[in-house]
Each structure stands twice: as structure tokens, then as C-alpha cells.
């Protein structure tokens, strides 16, 4: 009997969330197929290698998987001591973008060149913020229930967000980081009222901005970069050759997919009509090729992913682990929602990639590291209450 008990105990110690792993592997594999489908024609034209993007992404994904398994083996509390360091390092890396190490692409300076590897400091900042806030909230204990604690947690991510926005000119990443922080705070704080009020205020402010810009349309022609994006969002066909171009091309792709799609590999829009379809707009090509059916299936996969993260967070052995998972959940959920919303022109266009599916080496690696951390938290779950 004791023999059997100890065996059972060992088993529970080695709990591994295979469901989560399977979902992530499925999304990764599906992403690689779609990256090949969307990029092969253009890659063959420009790089004489149809699998150019597929190879690069496969390499990054493999590296990411290795890192994921390593991180999954390390108890998550190991990272707690690096929380402050992570915050500082993120800030430094963002500043480094402006030095000679920075790399410019598509008119924005967002990347760092580190010995042949290019990475976005914003990706590190997301991970760093999750870690830092989780450890901060744990240290604060009950003081988070005070107004002071509430605003402390709300203000801590601000410097990083502003740096990401202003220095690397990446508003969407700034929004994601801030969003993650708000969600973690929401979970940590027992209060609801404050969040409802803040949420309503934010929605009202956004509506006011949109109204103001659409009214100004006739007044002055100079609305700046983001103002025009909002106008293009309201009527993409009127801005077909400018800011509305990408959105309109995405809508063409989505709309022409219909219910069952044109079939895998049959997209027309990827043939140069929708530039760099393998990046942020990959979801529109999924819609075109696999139809409403495929698009809903992918959304369901993401819902499953978030559900798994929720289950893990709810069963995490301690608050630190739960908050880590909530941060990751927030990161994934915000990014998926914003990406699909942008592609379907539900919100104004801003560059956000679709997790695990869009092309982008550093992005997929950091996503997998985050999954690794979640798996590590999951390992601490006791299968049985006792």
C-alpha cells in the first residue's frame, strides 16, 4: 500500500498539462502551414525560395519549443528574484533601439540586432511586466485593496508603456502591456466598481476621440497618422489607396472566402494584393482559404487555449503562480482579440500579430517561453485535495 501511495504521489508531482501543450502545438503547426501558404508565392518571387519564410519560422518555433520545455522544468518561483531586473532590462533594451544596435524595418525602429538574432524589446517587456507585476502584487499583500495600492499597480507599467509607444513607435504593444497590467490588477483586487467606472470612462473617451476626428474630417486636412487611421476605419473604401488599403484588401480576402473558403492554398489576395500577408493580416487569408468554417475553428482553438490557462490559473498553488498565468492569459487574449478585430475592421488598424500563427521569430519564441512558465505553474497543481 505505501508503495502504491508513493507512486501515486510521484505521478501527481509530474503533472503536465498535455491539453495545453497539444493546443499550442496545434496552433504552431497550423501557423506554419498558413505561413507557407500565404508567403510561398511572394517568397518564390523575391527570394527564389518558396519556403523562405517557412524555414525561418520553423527554426524560431523549434528554438522556442526547446526553451519552453526548459522553462517548464524550472520551478516558476525561480524567476521571482529576477522581477526587478527584468523591468530594468526591458527599459534598457528599449533605449538600445535608438543606438546603432537598433534595426529599422517598414519605417519603424523596433528591433534589436543581437549577433544575427533580431528581437523586439517590446516582446521582452511584455514578459518582464507579467513577472514584475506578479511579484509586486504578492509583496504588497493586502495593501492592494487600498486606493494607493490600486494606483501603484496601475502606474508601475506606465513608464515602460510610454517608452514602447514613444521610443519604438509601437502603440499596439504599449496597449497590450497596459492591458495585461489592468487584467492582473483586476484579478488581484477584490473590487469591481473601480474597474467598471474606469472601463466606462475609457470607452467614453475613445468614442469622444472618434467623434472628434470624424467631425474634423471636413475642417482640416492635417489629422496626423493616427487620425487618418480612424477615418480609414470608418470608411475604408474612401481611403482605398492610402490608410484604408490594407484593411480593404483584408476585407476582400475575408469576404471572398465565404462559408467554406476557396480551399487551402487557393487565396488570390496573397498574390501581392495584400502585402506581407504572412504577418499581421494572416487571419484574413485563413478566412479566404478556409472560409467561415476555418476561421471559427481557429477562434475556438484560441478559446480552448484561454480556457486551459483559466483552469491552470484557478488551480495554481499560490497567488504568484496564478498571476503569472493570468498575465500570460491576458497577453494571449488581448493579442488574439485585437488582431481579429483589426483584420475584420472592427477597430482601427494597428499592427498586432496573431499569436503562434503570424510570421515573426522573436514573437513566437517569447510566446513559447510564456507557455513554458504556465506549464511550470501547472506542474505545481495538486491533483487531489488533501
Amino acid at each position: 500500500m505505501p508503495q502504491a501511495r508513493s507512486r501515486k504521489k510521484r505521478q501527481s508531482e509530474y503533472f503536465f498539462d498535455y491539453s495545453l501543450l497539444f493546443i499550442v502545438l496545434f496552433l504552431l503547426g497550423f501557423g506554419l502551414i498558413m505561413i507557407y501558404s500565404t508567403s510561398s508565392y511572394e517568397a518564390a518571387m523575391e527570394n527564389q525560395d518558396a519556403a523562405y519564410y517557412l524555414k525561418k519560422q520553423t527554426f524560431a518555433a523549434a528554438l522556442g519549443l526547446v526553451m519552453m520545455f526548459i522553462v517548464a522544468q524550472i520551478p516558476y518561483h525561480f524567476w521571482e528574484r529576477f522581477a526587478t531586473l527584468g523591468y530594468v532590462v526591458s527599459a534598457i533594451l528599449i533605449l538600445l533601439v535608438q543606438t546603432s544596435l537598433g534595426r529599422e524595418s517598414h519605417g519603424a525602429r523596433r528591433w534589436l540586432n543581437l549577433g544575427g538574432l533580431s528581437l523586439q524589446p517590446a516582446e521582452i517587456a511584455k514578459l518582464g511586466m507579467i513577472l514584475f507585476l506578479a511579484s509586486l502584487v504578492c509583496k504588497m499583500g493586502r495593501s492592494i485593496r487600498m486606493l494607493k495600492g490600486f494606483f501603484t499597480v496601475l502606474c508601475v507599467p506606465m513608464p515602460i508603456c510610454l517608452m514602447v509607444w514613444k521610443i519604438t513607435d509601437n502603440m499596439s504593444s504599449a496597449i497590450i502591456i497596459f492591458g495585461i497590467a489592468v487584467l492582473m490588477l483586476f484579478v488581484a483586487s477584490p473590487d469591481y466598481k473601480k474597474f467598471v467606472v474606469c472601463g466606462l470612462l475609457a470607452v467614453a473617451a475613445a468614442a469622444l476621440v472618434v467623434f472628434f476626428i470624424s467631425q474634423q474630417e471636413m475642417g482640416s486636412g492635417d489629422l496626423g497618422f493616427r487620425g487618418e487611421r480612424i477615418l480609414a476605419w470608418l470608411d475604408p473604401e474612401a481611403y482605398a489607396s492610402g490608410k484604408g488599403f490594407q484593411t480593404l484588401q483584408a476585407l476582400y480576402a475575408i469576404g471572398s472566402g465565404g462559408i467554406f473558403g476557396k480551399g487551402l492554398g487557393q487565396s488570390m489576395q496573397k498574390l501581392g494584393f495584400l502585402p506581407e500577408a504572412q504577418n499581421d493580416m494572416i487571419f484574413s487569408i485563413i478566412c479566404e482559404e478556409l472560409g467561415l468554417f476555418g476561421a471559427i475553428a481557429i477562434i475556438l482553438m484560441f478559446v480552448l487555449l484561454i480556457w486551459r490557462l483559466m483552469v491552470i490559473a484557478n488551480n495554481a498553488p499560490d497567488l504568484f503562480g496564478a498571476l503569472l498565468v493570468v498575465g500570460v492569459l491576458g497577453h494571449f487574449a488581448i493579442q488574439v482579440i485585437l488582431n481579429i478585430a483589426v483584420v475584420t475592421n472592427t477597430i482601427p488598424n494597428t499592427g498586432i500579430s496573431l499569436p503562434f500563427i503570424s510570421y515573426g521569430g522573436s514573437s513566437v519564441m517569447f510566446l513559447l517561453i510564456e507557455v513554458g512558465m504556465v506549464l511550470s505553474v501547472a506542474k505545481g497543481i495538486r491533483l487531489k485535495e488533501y
Partner: protein, 575 residues
């Protein structure tokens, strides 16, 4: 340390919130991919599809014996596809040199941001092939058809020619445009954003429908011969121009219509050799071209002169104011009010009956007949014979009759009208009116077009032309045939006489306006066989040098024509 319940609740709240947002997004997708699907699919197809039209082969023009007078030959259209051009400068240089075009012109089109831009059409096949051989990306050579006239200038002013888009510009090519042009086809191909056609998707083709073949009554053999005779007359008489019109008086079918000098239908924009175009303004050049293209038989009017006595005689006979046997006396002139109108024979023809007066083409007798009819009645006959209306020949630009108003016709005017002066008609009007007087009294519509066939030879359209019966009585018609035969056998038209054939006719020598310029128009209108006319011919010589009498110079032209075509027509009838 166990997590608090509110943490779990909040995490579940987040999940539910996400779920709701996903539901909204899914709803948005359903809206876009089900309700808006048609709209975006169509917009996307417009974006992906490239249209290229396929020209339809223009219908041919075929003569009465099946000889093709207007045909098509393969030429090329060179265009550029902006997105596919790799080496812009090379493309511009190659197109400039091969197509002999201005560099600015080519550059403008090559640099223009359009899906496909036409550089030049109607390029010779050899040049087109040469450009295709260069294999320049972005340069497209499409084959299409160009009008080709195997007999160059034959019946040029009748057939007409086509412009750059294969559309008719003058002549039958314009008149029968709707039958000849056919329906353009279309090639729909899918392309990528660069404009490169995707072979895998295949193309959607709408086949062109060739234009119908127009069959005309013109007989190439007669036309050729008429043209030769006209050329000959023009050269020997150093005339400005000569027109010969041959028609079937019974049904109005035109067998030949030669207007020399003709022009080369394959190079219709080249002015006659020796024309000095330097220093010519664009408008002057266009005027010169228009003049060259004018069909004298239809577009120009003239004073018909003595040939018009046929109409006066017919009107007189119809009105019953004169008969064949009526006797007249010509002192060489006639007084009308205070005017003294002279006969062409200074001493006068003396005593003569009406038939002899016609043979002599005696002016005083015809003035007398005209006055007997009276201005009002004469005008009514003029109208009844159809002289006030156009003949409605199936060629564009027919000129109308220039005639006095009824109330302005006094004695003097009536007298001059009686022998064919002081008003103007077209040669086709004269030929048609005389036809209706000698064919038993049926006013026919002169025409070329007989029927249209489709590519496979089936007749798609047969043309019918109105005939107005009883313009003159059969009796008057018979009398006129008799009198006009006498003109050729024993009178002023005897130079048109051919042994063994019965030929009728009437000569004319008219002065061109202004009078006294010494410029004349010699003409003759003849028909055969005189008892049952099968063919009617009008020869008009403008401004001949030396002898200018119609009986002397125009009648022999018609005789020569008849000598050749009467045996030919008999043979045709026999067959």
C-alpha cells in the same frame, strides 16, 4: 497559501469576458463572410481579373460574282503592362525604334500607371513578331485584324475604308457598319498584384462574333472596265475628273461606280502624289483628304444640261401637251418674256417634229414644251419623278437637289429648267430618274447592298428597297425609249451607236458656274437594250480640254463600255 475565492471569480470573469468578445468577433465574421460575401467577392474579382478584348474579324465586302473587295489581314497591337515591366528604358528604346514612334509618346504610355496601355495598333505582322522576339517583360503583342483591300483603289469612293479601331470612315464601310463590325470577344484572366497572369487558374474566354459579309451588286469586272475608260477619258481630255455610273434601271442595283481619280484604300491618308503637303496646316490637309475621298456621283451636284430634256419630254408627254408627231420650227432662238434664249445650232434646226427635236437636242422646242406644261405643273412633275427627294442610295453623304422654290419659278426660270439649267442635281439622281422613266415608270432606289451572310454562309439579312410605281405611264415610258433610241441611231448620240445592239441615250454639255469661265461638263446617259433596258450608264467628264461636247466625248465612252459589258451581261444572263 491558497488563492482566495475572489481571485478565481475574477479569472472566470475574464474568461467569460473574452468569450463574449470572441462571440462578437465571430458575429462580425459571419456578417462579413455570409452577408457581405457577394460584395467583397465581386470587388476582389474586379481586382484580380484582367480583361483583354479580342477583336472580331470585320465582315468582308463581296461583289456580285463572289469576288472579295474588302478583306482582313492579320496585324498586331502592341501594349505594355505597367506592373510587368522590368527594364523601363529598354522597353522605351525598343518600342521607339521598332514602331517608329516619338520617345515622349512612348515614355508617357510606358510610365502611366494602368493595368494595360496600348502603344500602337495596326502594326505589321513582321514588326509585331520582331518585338515579340525581343521577349521584353511587360510588352504584349496581340494579333488582330486590319482591313485590306485587294484591288487597292478600285471603287475606293464606294467601298470606303476603316480607321484605327477598324470602324468604317466613309462609303459602304460606314453605311453597313452595324453588319460588318461584329461583336468583340473578351479574355478574362486572373493575375497577381503585379499583373502577371496565373496559368493555373485558366482563362475565361468570350469568343468574338465575326461581322457579316456584305454582298453588293457591284460587279468587279464592270467596275474595272469603267475605271479604265474613265482614266482613259480623263487623260486624253485632260479632264479634272471623270465619273462613270452603271446601274440596272429595273431594280436600281448599281453595277459600277467609278470616280477617277480614285485613291488607294490601303493608304487612305496619303494625298495624291505630287501634292505639296509642306506648310499645309492640319485643317488644310484634312480638307484635301476630304476632297480626295468625295464621291462625285453622290456628294456633288451639277447642272445636268440636255440630259434633263428626257425629264421635260416625259413630263410633256404625260401632261399631253406634246406628242411624237407634233411639229415645231426652230429659228435658232426663242424669246421668253424679254430674254432671247439661243439654240446651240446658231442657224436653227428649222422645221422638225418632236422626235427630231429630241434627236437634235433643240433648246427652243423644249422651252416651248416646258412653257406649255406651265410652272406649277412642271414643278409637280419634278416632284412626282422624285427629283426633290434624295435617291436614298446606301452610301453616306448624298447631296440634295438645289432647286428654285415653286413660287419663284417664272417664265425664264421655267424655260431654263426645261433644258436642264438653273438648278442642280447629283449624277445618281439623274441616273435614277431616267431609269424610272425608261423602265416602265417605276421609281427605284439605287443601291449596292443586296444581302449579308454570316461566317458560315447563311443569309442573315436580305435588303429590300422601296419602289414607287407609275411615276410615268407605261405608254410614256415606251415613247421615251423609242425617242432616245432615235437619238443614238440618228441624232446627237450616234457616237454611242454599236452595230447589233439597240441603244438609247441622251447627250449633254453643261457649263459650270460661273458662266463664261469656259469650263464645261460633258455627259452622256445611255441604256441598252433600248426596247427592254437591262443596263443604264452615265458618263460625266468634268472640265475637258479641247472638244467639250457630250455627244463628241462622253458618248464614245459609254459606247466603249457597252461594247464590252453588253456581251458580258448577256453571257451572265445566259448562265
Amino acid at each position: 497559501m491558497k488563492n482566495k475565492t475572489f481571485h478565481r471569480k475574477k479569472i472566470v470573469t475574464i474568461f467569460v469576458g473574452c468569450l463574449l468578445i470572441f462571440l462578437i468577433l465571430a458575429g462580425r465574421l459571419v456578417y462579413l463572410m455570409v452577408w457581405q460575401s457577394d460584395h467583397y467577392s465581386e470587388a476582389a474579382r474586379d481586382l484580380h481579373e484582367r480583361e483583354r478584348s479580342i477583336k472580331a474579324a470585320r465582315g468582308r465586302i463581296i461583289d456580285a460574282n463572289g469576288v472579295v473587295l474588302a478583306d482582313n489581314k492579320t496585324v498586331c497591337t502592341v501594349s505594355v503592362i505597367h506592373n510587368q515591366i522590368e527594364d523601363k528604358e529598354a522597353v522605351i528604346a525598343a518600342l521607339c525604334s521598332k514602331l517608329d514612334l516619338d520617345e515622349d509618346y512612348v515614355r508617357k504610355r510606358v510610365e502611366k500607371y494602368t493595368a494595360i496601355e496600348r502603344i500602337k495598333s495596326n502594326v505589321d505582322k513582321e514588326d509585331g513578331d520582331a518585338i515579340r522576339e525581343l521577349k521584353l517583360p511587360g510588352v504584349k503583342v496581340d494579333e488582330d485584324y486590319k482591313r485590306y483591300y485587294p484591288y487597292d483603289s478600285l471603287a475606293s469612293k464606294v467601298l470606303g475604308f476603316t480607321g484605327g479601331d477598324n470602324q468604317g470612315i466613309i462609303g459602304l464601310e460606314v453605311k453597313y457598319e452595324e453588319y460588318l463590325k461584329g461583336t468583340e470577344g473578351m479574355i478574362l484572366t486572373m493575375t497577381d498584384a503585379r499583373g502577371i497572369e496565373l496559368d493555373a487558374v485558366g482563362e475565361n474566354r468570350i469568343e468574338p462574333v465575326s461581322g457579316g459579309d456584305l454582298h453588293i451588286s457591284l460587279d468587279m469586272n464592270i467596275q474595272k472596265y469603267a475605271t479604265q475608260l474613265a482614266m482613259q477619258a480623263m487623260e486624253t481630255k485632260q479632264a479634272e475628273s471623270v465619273s462613270i455610273l452603271v446601274m440596272d434601271p429595273k431594280n436600281g442595283e448599281i453595277l459600277a461606280m467609278a470616280n477617277v481619280p480614285e485613291f488607294d484604300l490601303n493608304h487612305p491618308f496619303t494625298l495624291p502624289e505630287g501634292t505639296d503637303t509642306t506648310g499645309m496646316a492640319e485643317k488644310e490637309k484634312q480638307d484635301a483628304l476630304n476632297k480626295m475621298w468625295r464621291n462625285g456621283c453622290i456628294n456633288d451636284t451639277y447642272e445636268p444640261g440636255s440630259t434633263f430634256k428626257v425629264i421635260t419630254a416625259a413630263a410633256g408627254l404625260e401632261a399631253g401637251v406634246v406628242s411624237k408627231e407634233d411639229r415645231f420650227s426652230c429659228p435658232g432662238y426663242i424669246m421668253v418674256e424679254d430674254r432671247r434664249i439661243r439654240c446651240h445650232k446658231v442657224g436653227g434646226h428649222g422645221a422638225e417634229n418632236f422626235v427630231e427635236a429630241t434627236m437634235n437636242s433643240c433648246n427652243p422646242v423644249f422651252v416651248t414644251v416646258g412653257l406649255r406644261i406651265g410652272a406649277e405643273r412642271y414643278y409637280d412633275y419634278f416632284k412626282q419623278f422624285g427629283l426633290l427627294d434624295k435617291t436614298n442610295i446606301d452610301l453616306p453623304g448624298e447631296a440634295g437637289t438645289i432647286m428654285h422654290k415653286k413660287e419663284n419659278i417664272g417664265m425664264v426660270e421655267l424655260a431654263t429648267i426645261s433644258f436642264g439649267q438653273s438648278f442642280q442635281i447629283t449624277p445618281i439622281q439623274l441616273a435614277t430618274t431616267i431609269s424610272s422613266i425608261i423602265n416602265g415608270g417605276n421609281r427605284v432606289t439605287p443601291h449596292f447592298g443586296t444581302y449579308v451572310t454570316a461566317e458560315d454562309g447563311t443569309v442573315i439579312r436580305e435588303f429590300e428597297y422601296p419602289v414607287r410605281e407609275n411615276v410615268v405611264s407605261a405608254e410614256t415610258s415606251a415613247t421615251m425609249r423609242y425617242m432616245l433610241e432615235q437619238v443614238v441611231e440618228n441624232g446627237g448620240g450616234k457616237k454611242a451607236y454599236i452595230e447589233g445592239f439597240r441603244i438609247g441615250g441622251k447627250t449633254a454639255t453643261s457649263q459650270t458656274l460661273p458662266r463664261g469661265s469656259g469650263r464645261y461638263i460633258a455627259s452622256f446617259c445611255g441604256f441598252a437594250p433600248a426596247d427592254d433596258p437591262r443596263v443604264l450608264a452615265v458618263a460625266i467628264i468634268h472640265t475637258p480640254q479641247g472638244v467639250y461636247y457630250g455627244g463628241q466625248i462622253a458618248a464614245p465612252v459609254v459606247r466603249q463600255l457597252f461594247e464590252n459589258i453588253l456581251p458580258y451581261l448577256e453571257e451572265m444572263d445566259y448562265n
